[in-house]
């Protein structure tokens, strides 16, 4: 009898191991295929650009673009433009994050604040706020204040709605028990409501982050000056296509890195939460 049981557990263990190996093999395969298809894209770009089917103006070879990025990195131009863009996008993002969470919290606590801001948020959210850019230029000029303001205006909406939804979804039992145990309003807010709403708030921030980057670049393109967007626009006016494509590659890398970093921060902050369990 015992031997049969041993055999079944052994078979199970073997099945588990092979399943685990299969899964690991699958993920290795996927990563490999990912790297492979990105490499393939770069090679196809290089070959197609050199084939003579398109002019070097329409599509400069990847090697020329890479050289251009390298030259910009050596001369310091790249870091200067990158720094300026990042400061604007991140300043706007941080202001939108703090302001959005604050406004969302106030709205959930006070009826008057909710009454006043609710229609503004629900009407303003789907509007293309970028259309207000010329008005903001009219008010604030062409410098950083105007650029950061348009970023805030665009990025704050998803944060407010996510905060509102997060707070509304907090388990009532948690609130009752905290109050029963004598917790004050402020303590409940900081120690229960906000942590419980954190997953949703972070989702709102994850929506707002790419918006901040997109809008910062549009603002730079429209207003000129330093920054990745401004540099791309200048390059486009002078028909300098390697510099335009260099801009795309740089912006793509920045966007990718920012979004990955945000996902990592989410994972760290939500270690206690069940969504992170099993990873």
């Amino acid at each position: 009898m015992a031997r049969v049981e041993d055999q079944t557990t052994l078979a199970q263990a073997q099945a588990n191991i092979s399943q685990d190996a299969l899964r690991r093999l699958d993920s290795v395969f996927r990563t490999g295929a990912g790297v492979f298809s990105i490499l393939l894209l770069l090679i196809a770009w290089e070959v197609f650009a050199r084939s003579g089917r398109v002019t070097a103006f329409m599509l400069p070879p990847f090697s020329v673009v890479a050289e251009r990025i390298y030259a910009d990195a050596i001369s310091g131009e790249l870091w200067r433009n990158l720094g300026v863009t990042m400061v604007r996008a991140m300043a706007g993002f941080v202001i939108a994050a703090v302001g959005g969470v604050t406004l969302g919290t106030l709205m959930s606590r006070s009826k008057i604040v909710h009454w006043f801001f609710d229609p503004i948020i629900s009407v303003g959210f789907p509007m293309p706020k970028i259309a207000f850019l010329p008005i903001i230029i009219l008010w604030l000029g062409l410098y950083d204040t105007a650029k950061i303001s348009i970023v805030v205006l665009d990025a704050i909406f998803p944060v407010v709605t996510a905060t509102l939804a997060g707070i509304a979804g907090v388990d009532k039992v948690l609130l009752w028990s905290a109050r029963n145990m004598g917790a004050r309003d402020n303590a409940i807010m900081w120690q229960i409501v906000l942590p419980a709403a954190l997953p949703q708030i972070l989702t709102g921030l994850q929506v707002a982050l790419p918006i901040a980057l997109i809008v910062a670049i549009i603002a730079e393109m429209a207003m000129g000056g330093y920054g990745l967007g401004g540099a791309m626009m200048t390059a486009s006016r002078y028909a300098n296509s390697p510099a335009v494509f260099a801009g795309i590659v740089e912006i793509a890398v920045v966007g990718y890195a920012l979004i990955k970093a945000m996902a990592l921060i989410r994972h760290r902050l939500l270690v206690w939460h069940e969504e992170t369990a099993g990873h």
Binding site: P128, I130, M233, Y256
Partner: protein, 251 residues
């Protein structure tokens, strides 16, 4: 009924208050009327712009670009997403590219599309197509991957062809997420349209805003900005309404 009307009025009262505050602040010169013309003069400028056809002409140019780009994005992106979910090989090789381009701030494509196709309609349509395709692809892909395998297998075993299965089984179950992806694309289309027209264009809403602003006709500029903002809002609300209609069978 009256109760509902009173509720709606009370709900949107803050917007009326803001409009009133705007008018009063501008009229009493609390804020420089050059930077903030009174709402009533903006309304007058709007009527003038409609009457001499400028708003309509540029509006039609913008709506043509926007809808052409968006329709292309939905057709190609939706198709690609559904196919990726059904054919593993395509998934394995295309998915990394989708993941690579997903976080790309789409506005970076503005100068390239200008480089390729110039200042006219072509560059805007291409920009909106490229920018809006990815959210539609991801929506279709996630939706189709969630479709019930048992349903697909039974349809196959009953002799349905692959395309038939795609259309009758996978597509309906992918619909909710696909429609959500298209909603994101709709908002993105407005942003890309207006910003590309603001930056380089000779026609369209964005061009008109920039032109009126540079000639100092700020009442007109405000009128066009508000028109675009309200159109964007209305488009989203109409889309949401249609989406609920389309998904009614699920209840």
């Amino acid at each position: 009924m009256t109760h509902a009307i009173r509720q709606t009025t009370l709900r949107y009262l803050p917007l009326v208050l803001i409009a009133l505050g705007w008018e009063v602040a501008a009229r009493l010169n609390i804020i420089d009327t050059l930077a903030l013309p009174p709402l009533s003069s903006v309304a007058v400028a709007w009527v003038d712009l409609v009457r001499d056809g400028e708003l309509i002409d540029n509006g039609i140019a913008s709506l043509y670009r926007g809808s052409a780009g968006l329709i292309l994005a939905v057709a190609v992106g939706g198709g690609l997403g559904l196919c990726m979910a059904r054919w593993r090989l395509l998934d394995v090789f295309v998915n990394p590219l989708v993941e690579l381009f997903y976080p790309l701030p789409k506005s970076a494509l503005i100068p390239v599309t200008v480089l390729w196709l110039g200042f006219g309609d072509g560059s805007k349509i291409l920009l909106i197509f490229l920018g809006c395709m990815i959210p539609v692809t991801i929506g279709a892909y996630n939706g189709a991957r969630g479709s019930d395998h048992a349903l697909v297998w039974s349809a196959r075993s009953m002799g349905a062809r692959r395309l038939r299965v795609m259309w009758d089984v996978v597509m309906p179950s992918a619909l909710p997420e696909l429609l959500n992806g298209i909603r994101t694309a709709l908002a993105l289309a407005f942003i890309l349209l207006v910003s590309s027209e603001l930056i380089v264009s000779q026609k369209g809403f964005g061009y008109l805003i920039g032109y009126l602003g540079s000639t100092g006709a700020y009442e007109g500029m405000y009128a066009v900005v508000l028109t675009v903002a309200i159109l964007g809002f209305a488009a989203d609300r109409i889309y949401q309404f249609l989406m609920q209609r389309l998904l009614r069978w699920r209840e």
